[in-house]
């Protein structure tokens, strides 16, 4: 039908103390998009607008080819959603919830549900109020995964979880991608998860999209260069470098548009490049936020 699972064009939403400003996003079918940003950056708002739970003030949103929020009912048949602030019914058992979902969706895969119970270490007969935080997150995810939806929309799926639980969840999320028609959009401030399983990355800060790119290209654009600067030499501002921190003769340059010639460019100025390093997404996150805030003169 459509090549894109999710499309945002010029989407804006204004609240009293926060504005989501002119968001453009595209997630091709069969790919995973990680939304990163600090708390309050607008990740949850973006996801709510995607689900039709919040109406945008401006812009077009299409999910699985359907306009949101007008066609949200049709879209939600194929979407599995869970959110960090979503709770299930305390007084009811996981089994009851599974039955409830099964009574609505015909795509429920009972075998997979049973397997997930085992893999997640959950007991179906247990009431939700008896579960730990991690178990509740996994329970909500089970309800969504066992339906095998075409699009998974997950707001902070691994936040607050221990490493084992996180690993269990990432395993199922990447497992779901064995189906080429399945797409995932998730938000996280756990950059490790995003770095590991995302095909596309979108970076939100204070309601603005400050970066949007495929992950490999994005990680490739960033480098940290460790430099030794002889006395009497001032480091010039080079293209592609967004920050230089220097103390005495040691300098660290952060580049967000690295080109193969950059180390040579520094060497030509007289500085010595001691090392060129890749940066983790976490380091990029911090550097990017600092840089973008400088830009807007905040």
């Amino acid at each position: 039908m459509n090549d894109f699972a999710v499309q945002f064009q010029g989407v804006s939403k204004r609240y009293k103390y926060f504005t989501l400003d002119n968001i453009d996003l595209q997630l091709p079918v069969g790919q995973v998009m990680g939304l990163i940003g600090q708390n309050g950056a607008g990740k949850s708002t973006t996801i709510r607008i995607l689900m039709g739970l919040v109406h945008q003030d401006e812009g077009q949103v299409q999910v699985l080819g359907r306009h949101m929020p007008e066609e949200q009912i049709a879209a939600k048949w194929d979407i599995g959603f869970t959110s960090e602030d979503l709770r299930l019914y305390d007084a009811m058992t996981l089994e009851w919830h599974m039955g409830f979902i099964r009574s609505i969706y015909s795509t429920w895969d009972a075998e997979y549900a049973k397997l997930l119970l085992k893999r997640f270490g959950l007991v179906a007969e247990q009431k939700m109020k008896g579960l730990s935080h991690g178990q509740r997150v996994k329970a909500a995810l089970l309800l969504v995964l066992a339906r095998r939806p075409r699009l998974l929309v997950l707001d902070e799926p691994t936040t607050g979880l221990d490493p084992v639980a996180r690993h269990e969840i990432l395993r199922e999320l990447t497992g779901a991608m064995a189906d080429e028609e399945c797409s995932i959009l998730f938000s996280s401030h756990n950059t490790q998860d995003v770095e590991q399983i995302s095909d596309q990355i979108a970076f939100l800060d204070r309601g603005r999209l400050i970066d949007s790119s495929d992950k490999e290209t994005y990680l490739d654009r960033w480098r940290r260069l460790r430099l030794e600067v002889p006395a009497g030499i001032g480091l010039p501002a080079l293209r592609g470098v967004i920050a230089v921190k220097q103390e005495g003769r040691i300098a660290i340059a952060t580049a967000n548009a690295f080109e193969a010639d950059l180390p040579n460019a520094y060497e030509r100025t007289g500085a010595r490049v001691q090392r060129v390093e890749n940066m983790t997404l976490e380091e990029i996150f911090v550097a990017n936020v600092e840089h973008s805030r400088e830009d807007v003169n905040v």
Partner: protein
Amino acid sequence: MNAQTSVVRQMVWKDIQMHRKLMASLMIFGAAGLGLFLVKREPYTVLGGIALFTALILTSAFVPGSNILNERKRQTLPFLMSLPISAIQYTTAKLLSTVGMFLIPWTTLVIAAIWMIAVEGVLPHGAIPMALMLLTLPFVNVCGITAMNLVGETEGWNGAAQVIFNSVPGVIWYLITLSPALTRDLGSSQAVWNPTVLTFLGSEFAVIVLILALTYYLQSRKRDFV
């Protein structure tokens, strides 16, 4: 649309299941009240009537809050809205289940009252129109309280709704006693459906329709549902 009505139906059923203990106690209470009523001797008749009426009041005081506000308070609303429904269908499901749960004690009371008058002759038949007019008031009430909970979404609105709708019957009762057209034929042996009575009943019905229309209108205008 078949799939849609099915989702609404599942949600109504879910609400009833979540209140199964309440439903059970209401039915027992109702049955007990009815039983007392059928003894046909004072003070049992009065006690029965009070029991049934109490069940009615408690239901309309408790159910809208527990059925509607709790979805927000307990943060289960995102779960429901992630299902393939719209805010309007959610509203329908909640109206059906809330008013539906109220109908259990209400229908019991109405049947008991009409039976006592029409069959057992506890009161002359002239009292039937009055009984219907008065018994319809709690029904209007529960619609109003449910509506304000759905639209207002907070305890504050629930409280306001309870105050407004529980004080209105008293006022209406008083106004009724002032109307000769309504009180004139109470003692007669036949039920008299004069125009005033019909207008009154019609107005109650119209108020319910108005409440529902307003609810759907306001719900449809919400842009930040969750």
